[in-house]
């Protein structure tokens, strides 16, 4: 399996640096001002290597993640991980968009199945799923390393230079099934794994131990909540995410602090302490980095990163 590091992200991972990535979520809008501001904030933290640009998350349509990733990367200088779902495009459109990414200088794609159209805001839409996420990784790998699509049709001229990531299911049950899935994806060329958000460090460690045999660098997803309500939302409404009782209880207690500034500071401190310990632990277990998914809540990010790798 031929593999090269094209992106800054892949290069740092290859160099065994412990990496941090962030998350950008453009909306159903042609205006990217807000999302670029968040990208600039992440960039200024200094240690965030790249940020994911979501593609119609939860099957709620948004501006093309390809276009958004390009404009953000161009205007803020932050490297983007272009998320691409197989939910909405057949293999021709996927080839088109991967070449588009190449032409626009994007270097990372996160290959996703994507939520089914039925669960989103456009439930009447036809789910495409011409390929699945493993097939998409296969397609990208063949385009990048063989200069061909899945049918052997040739890419003319230079090949796109793209590293490809895959989503990891921390809570997959049984984990044995997840390992088989990742092995298939490793076989067709996945460069790295970014997991969904996890709060319980024991689950993260259990996952890292299980997927070690797959041999792909893994970034563990974290989501420092800004409030009790947000933490509660995760625990109650995001399928497959378990928030430990102790964590919830602590947030509950902090939510009762009446002084807003004090409450904010307390929550930040709590997040920093909690996630610094968390990340140190997963780092010990061989995680390649951390994917910080909190959008629009910068306060704890820099302190967390400093707590782990110093200034």
């Amino acid at each position: 399996m031929e593999k090269k590091a094209f992106s800054e992200l892949a290069k740092k991972i290859e160099a065994k640096e412990f990496v941090f990535t962030g998350e950008l979520e453009p909306h159903r809008s042609i205006d990217l001002t807000e999302v670029k501001e968040w990208a600039t904030t992440l960039k200024e933290i200094g240690k965030i290597i790249a940020a994911n640009v979501t593609d119609n998350p939860r099957s709620d349509s948004a501006i093309s993640s390809l276009v958004a990733a390009y404009l953000i990367q161009r205007d803020t200088g932050l490297e983007c991980v272009y998320q691409l779902r197989v939910t909405d495009r057949n293999r021709l459109a996927l080839v088109s968009d991967i070449l588009g990414a190449g032409a626009l200088g994007l270097k990372n794609i996160l290959a996703l199945a994507g939520d089914h159209t039925r669960v989103g805001t456009t439930p009447k839409a036809k789910p495409v799923f011409d390929l699945d996420s493993a097939n998409l990784i296969d397609l990208i790998h063949r385009m990048v390393y063989e200069g061909k699509d899945l049918d052997g049709n040739e890419i003319h001229g230079p090949r796109p230079e793209i590293n490809v990531g895959t989503a990891g299911g921390i809570m997959a049950e049984p984990l044995e099934m997840e390992v088989f899935k990742l092995k298939r994806k490793a076989k067709v060329g996945a460069d790295f794994i970014q997991t969904q958000a996890v709060f319980d460090v024991n689950l993260a460690v259990r996952y890292l131990k299980a997927v070690k045999e797959v041999g792909i660098p893994t970034l563990i997803g974290i989501f420092p909540p800004r409030s009790y309500a947000q933490a509660e939302f995760f625990g109650k409404f995001v399928p497959g995410v378990i928030v430990p009782k102790e964590f919830m209880d602590d947030f509950k207690k902090m939510s009762e602090i009446t002084d807003k500034a004090v409450r904010k500071e307390k929550i930040k401190e709590y997040n920093v302490n909690y996630f610094v310990d968390f990340i140190k632990e997963v780092r010990k277990e061989g995680a390649a980095g951390c994917h910080i998914m909190a959008v629009g809540y910068p306060d704890p990010i820099a302190p967390i990163i400093e707590g782990v790798i110093g200034k």
């Binding site: 939910t87 089914h116 799923f129 493993a134």
Partner: protein, 224 residues
Amino acid sequence: MIITKEKPIEEIYGFLEPFGSVLVVGCDSCTQPPRGLREAETYASLMEMAARVKGKEIKCEAITVVRQCCSEGVKEWIKPDGHEVILSMACGIGVQVLNEVFPEIPAFPAQNTVFVGWEEKREGIMYENCRACGDCLLGETGGICPRTRCAKGMMNGPCGGCIDGKCEIPVQLRNWRGEVVEEIKQDCGWYLIFNRLKAMKRLDLFEKYREPTDYSIWTNPRRI
């Protein structure tokens, strides 16, 4: 079997309203629930009643045939003379055969044709489990079809939407008016496949990477 569900009475009556004399044709073939003579007679009465309510008159005659999906048979068995319109109790196949065989008489559907599938017991719940793709994969997926029983039709599943062995998509059970009466979670097809292959000691078939489906053979309308 082919599963059909009754269209709303108002929709069917709307088709027939401009006409005076209706032939209601049942089908004794594979439609489930049954759509034979008894059901044709029921619809004949219903339509006459619906007309009366609106102060009109429609005369309906009910018959049935062995199967509406053979045009040679339909030609032989059905004599629609004297009727202005046909109401078919069969699946969408039957409706189209009637329109083809009797081009001078419009034939309208009484049913929505929903899927091909199976039932647990006579007139019990009916389940879809085959999409008639033309390239049966059941021999290597533990007898469970990923193209049908995985909502995404993944070749290398499950996806991240498989939580506790259930699919992320709620199934909405609807009544005959199309209203949602219950939402349930279904088993994840790939979770079933994993467990079946594990029991069969054939996890090698699960680990195998599969190329994407060849959709060229799905190009409709097919013929053989």
